[in-house]
Symmetry: C2
Amino acid sequence: MATLDTQSASSQPFIPLVEELAAAYQAFSLYDAEGLRKSGAGLTPSQARVIFTLGGTDGLTCKDIGDVTLITKGTLTGVVDRLEDKGLVERWSVEGDGRKTIVALTRRGQRVYEREFPRHVEFLKSKFDKLSAADRAKATQLLQKIKGLF
Amino acid sequence: MATLDTQSASSQPFIPLVEELAAAYQAFSLYDAEGLRKSGAGLTPSQARVIFTLGGTDGLTCKDIGDVTLITKGTLTGVVDRLEDKGLVERWSVEGDGRKTIVALTRRGQRVYEREFPRHVEFLKSKFDKLSAADRAKATQLLQKIKGLF
DNA sequence: GAAAATATGTTCTGGTAAGAACATAAATCT
DNA sequence: AGATTTATGTTCTTACCAGAACATATTTTC
């Protein structure tokens, strides 16, 4: 198989897709972070993802949280540390399996979840409402396909 | 307008789209980083983006690099610092506008670009080839639309 | 032409980010 | 059972990330 040169590499037709994927995610991320910052609850995007994931559960293991939020375990330790410092979550050991740690919302964390999650969804909804249902469905499907490439 | 509760918030139809956008970008990013790590050139994803952006130019200002790579200026300073330490880029002042700094590939940086850019595009291409041209075009278009929401 | 506004880049801060090494615990294998 | 393997979470390292404050230089406005 002939190797590409810089010319032929830069004209590969998938490159615009990569650029748009990064740009779209970037645009969303900045807006997402802005909404959290302005809400006054002092949550970072990662912290919010953890709080929103824990909401409505009786606590999850770090592994489960990581699977949902896509935060790797090494990073998650620090995120949970800071949420613990803020009094929004608590950790405890699980009966029967000494490896696992359960992380759950405290009463304060529960209140923050109930206030911030709907507020933030509303904040995002105002933008996503501008996308048609058909585009939304098609985009979701294609992104799923792209995820599956790797 | 009635505010959402946690129930109605979590059932908003745009949420799967957000999740897939994050998951697809995440999957791509991990694969992208893996390819750079294995190539042995020791480039991080951000460093590679800068090198690949500078390739084929006579040097760009930090602002221009940031516009293309989506790296904010505060972060870019550090990325360019490390590339400079590795001898892959050099900085100089621009005649006529004392605010601007030009960043350009050194001869070593040029060689790294010529070797790593095609190699990395080939690495990504092996995955994106599994996507049909129609899906690729549609995904690109929809991501552009999503980017435009914010 | 001087003052105000804008542009560019660096520095600083707190918080991720992934990966590797580590410690401990549980499951599996023989 | 005892040894090996796998699972879970923490710690450590290097680098990135955005935003804010800053320094400098240029442009605009009056």
